[in-house]
């Protein structure tokens, strides 16, 4: 009996040690969908546990999905800009939806963070980072603009600088304005430095 107990304890310890040390490689993440491809519907829960589909949240003229974080200083530098974007475009038929895929940040964290920072747009908790994987998202903040038919028109940064006083190009906003004006998006992708999305097993 002692032997069995010792063996099972050892197996448990080893499993725990392996799980603790498992670090998913970002390089294993699939590439993001190409511009022009259609994004499949998905279902995620908000911090209160209510499930939402992309179809139920999308605006009549399009949807902006932004991967955000509660702890990343870059993402937090964009809180006011993201809220303003949501306010500015809601009446014009484009909805902003936040997605938190960090395994290190709980639904309760997401709820508190949104309340403290006056974020009124819906924020969904992406447990197991399945939507981040589907969209090849790697950092926060990282935005995806989908048209009325969920076709990807823009993927990348919100603008060029996390310091709002240094902003001189706003690619995401430009993409929305161009689309609403019936024009092609001037720049369909743009990168910026940000925090890695903390992926976890679940």
């Amino acid at each position: 009996m002692k032997k069995i107990a010792a063996v099972s304890l050892m197996v448990t310890m080893l499993t725990v040690a392996l799980l603790v040390n498992a670090r998913p490689l970002v390089s294993d993440i699939s590439a993001p969908p190409i511009i022009g491809s259609t994004i499949a519907d998905f279902t995620l829960a908000d911090p209160s546990g209510a499930a939402h589909t992309l179809a139920s949240l999308h605006g009549k003229n399009g949807t902006v999905l932004i991967f955000i974080a509660t702890q990343c200083p870059v993402s937090n530098g964009y809180n006011e800009r993201m809220e303003k974007l949501a306010q500015d475009f809601k009446a014009r038929g484009i909805n902003v939806v936040g997605i938190n895929s960090n395994s290190t940040e709980s639904a309760a964290d997401v709820k508190d963070h949104a309340a403290k920072n006056n974020l009124t747009f819906p924020i969904l908790k992406d447990n197991g980072n399945k939507v981040a994987d589907m969209l090849g998202a790697t950092r926060t903040p990282e935005a995806y603009f989908l048209d009325a038919g969920n076709k990807l028109l823009y993927h990348g940064r919100v603008d060029n600088s996390r310091d709002v006083t240094q902003v001189n190009s706003s690619e995401l906003r430009d993409a929305l304005e161009a689309t609403l004006a019936g024009k092609p998006v001037p720049k369909a992708t743009a990168n910026a430095f940000g925090c890695s999305i903390k992926r976890g097993a679940e």
């Binding site: 032997k3 970002v26 870059v74 950092r139 060029n160 001189n168 890695s196």
Partner: protein, 193 residues
């Protein structure tokens, strides 16, 4: 139980205890390391790190050039990036272990220019870091990110290993796996010396 069976039993139990204790020690030392990672390593950490120099995208590109002699490891990080801070002790050890064996290593921070004489050197001092550190100071980060690697979104940390001719032979986005990185470095050091 026979004598030999007893002996096997005792050895087995002892072996099990040793394994469990080792795992516990490893787990706790790793946890302790990550908790104390941001504090100065007194009393050995005495020397100030070399001043951090601000570079633009062109200057950064020049830093990545190789002349056929030494491979180069480059780590992009920032003091505001938690996984960057967590992995830094591993990188400092790698620098210590491989510089004499022929590896060049530079760290490029994406901190704000205002932190170049404060938060950045403070962190480097705490880490007892000796590698040259530069601060990329650009109004628009995109050209620099794309110049480094087309697959890179700009997520931090990011680590690249170049061979002595400047070709990327290993890259990793997110916190490094030190064993994997060391294995990649081993293949490069001493190649053309």
């Amino acid at each position: 139980m026979t004598h030999s069976a007893k002996l096997i039993h005792v050895r087995f139990v002892l072996g099990t205890v040793v394994v469990i204790v080792s795992i516990l020690l490893l787990t706790f030392s790793a946890a302790a390391q990550s908790k104390t990672a941001h504090k100065p390593r007194s009393p050995r950490a005495v020397k100030s790190p070399a001043p951090v120099r601000a570079v633009n995208a062109e200057e950064m590109q020049a830093l990545l050039k190789r002349d056929g002699k030494r491979p180069l490891l480059v780590n992009y990080w920032a003091t505001w990036c938690d996984p960057c801070r967590d992995e830094f002790p591993d990188l400092v050890k790698i620098d210590r272990d491989y510089r004499a064996k022929g590896l060049d290593f530079i760290a490029i921070t994406l901190d704000d220019l205002v932190d170049i004489k404060t938060a950045v050197p403070k962190f480097l001092l705490a880490m007892n870091a000796k590698m040259p550190v530069y601060l990329l100071n650009v109004a628009d980060p995109e050209p620099a990110i794309n110049m480094v690697d087309r697959d890179w979104s700009g997520a931090l940390p990011a680590t690249f290993l170049y061979d002595n001719n400047g070709k990327v032979v290993y890259k990793h986005f997110g916190r490094v796996n030190p064993g994997e990185l060391r294995a990649a470095i081993e293949k490069q050091v001493g190649k053309s010396q």
